[in-house]
């Protein structure tokens, strides 16, 4: 029996993109992990935190702690939600020593999916095959808060049949930003259009990312612009064979 990992699929994957969660579970099982899904999980609380509602965010964060405290390793298909737990929970509980100790004990065990594969599982080739020209979108929180740059590219480089073309300019936000996308909808939409123009210049047919929320923004804007470019989560690419 392999090592155990617990999924935190995030609320957005649970409610809107369940296939991403299934793909991630599939890749982990293929690598010999015993995968479980703690049923009490919901959200990391980021929407409330980013909107200035720290009290509400704290309640949700505490629920996360209660749900995952007993898990040895937690894998998350999102850089942004991972960063919320590993970088912002501590801010939420800065004045609560007991909760802070729980946060510090937990945050080391929470891994973004691509980083988990390269750093913990120690694999780059997961045996995937996908005949496709793709480009990769760096989600801002994964990139700047977690420092994830190489891991997904190393994983993609090992996918048979896949060609990766970089976006120029790279590292520019897609304009999602959580509630920003609806509070400043016109601005967010303009940022998304600049992003998809850059994506289309690569000539890739598919955009890959670690973050379902960026993909929702990009896919929504691509469809609205009448583009045939499609989006895939990294887990879906790695699950392809």
């Amino acid at each position: 029996m392999g090592k155990r990992v617990s999924l935190f699929v995030t609320c957005i994957v649970d409610q809107l993109f369940p296939k991403v969660g299934m793909a991630m579970a599939g890749v982990l099982e293929r690598l010999g992990y015993q995968v479980d899904f703690p049923e009490n999980q919901t959200c990391c609380g980021q929407p409330a935190f980013n909107s200035g509602y720290r009290g509400e965010a704290r309640l949700v964060a505490r629920h996360f702690l209660d749900t995952f405290e007993s898990c040895e390793t937690i894998v998350v298909p999102s850089g942004s939600c991972t960063a919320m737990v590993t970088h912002h929970f501590a801010e939420l509980f800065a004045k609560d020593q007991a909760a802070l100790a729980r946060v510090h004990a937990l945050e080391k065990r929470v891994w973004e999916f691509a980083t988990f594969l390269t750093e913990v599982a120690g694999v780059e080739d997961v045996g995937a095959r996908l005949e496709e020209v793709v480009t990769f979108h760096d989600g801002c929180h994964g990139l700047r808060e977690l420092g994830i740059r190489d891991a997904p590219r190393r994983l993609l480089a090992c996918v048979r049949g896949l060609e990766l073309r970089e976006i120029e300019p790279a590292e520019e936000c897609c304009g999602f930003g959580g509630t920003f996308a609806v509070k400043f909808a016109e601005l967010s939409g303009a940022m998304a259009r600049t992003k998809i123009e850059a994506i289309e210049r690569t000539g890739a047919r598919t955009v890959v990312s670690l973050d379902p929320s960026c993909l929702m923004q990009i896919q929504g804007a691509l469809l609205r612009a009448g583009s045939s470019v499609r989006t895939m989560h990294l887990a879906e690419v790695l699950a392809s064979r």
Partner: protein, 472 residues
């Protein structure tokens, strides 16, 4: 969001020429910055940032000490330090001095601090002529506009715009060649420099151990402003003080690179006191106006007072995907971009434009390029929380507040959360799994409507992940 903020964003986004001008100009500055701090050119860039941050932290934490030291050293060189708490005090001081010395004409070099206190308007209101001598600032003064950008004030103006402004205000023939436009401005401004009674400058650094004002610039107009007239007044925020002249070795390496991608600005002036006996150049009188204007309010908060570390390089503007779309004039005060979004609410109060800290996707690009490592995204998040805490019962968005209470309740009750998800999915139209472009009127409201105004919306799947997981 205030209607004015909303309208300015909308107008800027709708102007295709302006969009191109902003995006191109900031893109050029952004690229040059990246090249100038590349590991092959500046291997110790990250160490310099850490050092700059440490010096600023130390300076701000010991602000009283270093301001007193600076004052002592300015006075030892026969200069004078004047403390001003707000715009009125700055104007009163300058006007009082002008009256005593019978001054009529003021030349100014670029200074965001004087923009903060509307100095030109206040001086002109009392019959003084005040002329901006930085080319960009001069263009904007003629056009009656505020700076669009901290470093490149006329970034939004094309050469054709400048030709039109010059023709209209200076009555010169239409001229679209940039070098010739510069020559026109130079001709006008040289006369002003020679005739000016007072020169007003800003300051990039105030050096405590030597009582010196340090100014960096590219056009030479600041050097003329500070040396040609008989009186020089430097107006600076109190946070500009640094302990030692040797600290400049750190800051000067970072400032020009971060601002324009230059290794060093064309002119770096060290100004300490009036002309000494035997010297040919320099003013007879030298004043440093130290302005508070809200700055001391930031000092109690350990995180937010980092905002005072800013050296006004503008790198965060050039890299910000929001600034690059909405430009400088959409911002509610003189400071724009990410740094404007954190200092405006703190200097002016969060009620000034409560939605300002929310006008960010929190992408973090600003924090990544800040040469003094201000954690701008973290401060934005704290300000968002401050806005929500400060909202009075009448002003708050009741629906939003209820929505987040409901969110927290659902997210801490997994069964209800699942049920709510199923209800939502049942209500949504199912069209073979294709993305949603329109919704019927009763459902097309609030955030859903805002989303659909720009993008298609993913349809809820037949089963949530947890349902698929149970049944697999």
């Amino acid at each position: 969001m205030s209607a004015e903020f909303d309208q300015k964003i909308h107008t800027t986004l709708a102007d295709a020429n302006l969009q191109l001008a902003i995006y191109t100009a900031t893109g050029r500055l952004k690229e040059k910055r990246v090249e100038s701090v590349a590991p092959g050119i500046l291997p110790d860039y990250q160490e310099l940032r850490t050092q700059a941050n440490a010096i600023k932290q130390h300076s701000i934490e010991n602000l009283d000490h270093y301001l007193e030291e600076f004052e002592r050293n300015v006075e030892a060189r026969r200069g004078k330090v004047v403390y001003c708490k707000d715009a009125t005090e700055v104007a009163d001081f300058v006007l009082g001095l002008a009256k005593e010395r019978r001054a009529r004409l003021v030349v100014k070099s670029k200074s965001m601090t004087t923009e903060e206190v509307d100095l030109n308007e206040r001086l002109e209101h009392h019959g003084l002529e005040s002329v901006e001598t930085d080319l960009g600032e001069y263009i904007l003064q003629l056009a009656h506009e505020r700076p669009y950008h901290i470093v490149a004030p006329a970034l939004h103006k094309t050469r054709y715009d400048v030709a039109e402004i010059f023709t209209r205000t200076l009555h010169v023939p239409n001229e679209i060649v940039i070098e010739k436009q510069t020559a026109i401005a130079r001709r006008v401004l040289r006369e002003k420099f020679l005739a000016a009674d007072i020169g007003i400058s800003g300051a990039n650094f105030l050096v405590a151990d030597s009582g010196a004002v340090v100014i960096v610039e590219n056009e030479g107009n600041a050097r003329l402003t500070t040396t040609a007239p008989k009186i020089h007044i430097a107006v600076a925020g109190i946070e500009k003080v640094i302990p030692r002249a040797q600290d400049l070795a750190t800051f000067l390496k970072l400032l020009a690179r971060s601002a324009t991608g230059q290794l060093l600005s064309v002119y770096t002036s060290f100004l300490a006191g009036p002309r000494r006996p035997g010297e040919i150049d320099g003013p007879d009188e030298f004043y440093v106006v130290l302005l508070d204007n809200g700055r001391t309010k930031l000092l109690p908060d350990r995180t937010k007072r980092q905002s005072l570390y800013c050296i006004r390089c503008g790198a965060c503007l050039n890299t910000c995907p929001v600034y690059r779309k909405i430009g400088g004039h959409s911002f509610p005060w003189v400071y724009s971009g990410p740094i404007g979004a954190i200092i405006t609410p703190q200097f002016m109060g969060v009620a000034h434009e409560p939605s300002l800290p929310f006008a960010s996707s929190l992408c973090g690009a600003c924090g990544e390029v800040c040469p003094v490592k201000i954690d701008i995204p973290k401060i934005l998040l704290e300000l968002r929380s401050d806005v929500k805490k400060s909202e009075t019962r009448e002003k708050q968005n009741r629906i939003e507040k209820l929505a987040f209470r409901a969110f927290a309740f659902l997210m801490t009750h997994p069964r209800l959360y699942e049920l709510a998800g199923r209800m939502g999915a049942a209500m949504a139209p199912s069209d073979g799994g294709s993305w949603i472009r329109n919704l019927p009127a009763p459902m097309n409201i609030g955030p859903v409507r805002a989303w659909l105004s720009q993008r298609d919306l993913p349809p809820p799947p037949a089963k949530s992940f947890r349902e698929m997981w149970r049944r697999r």
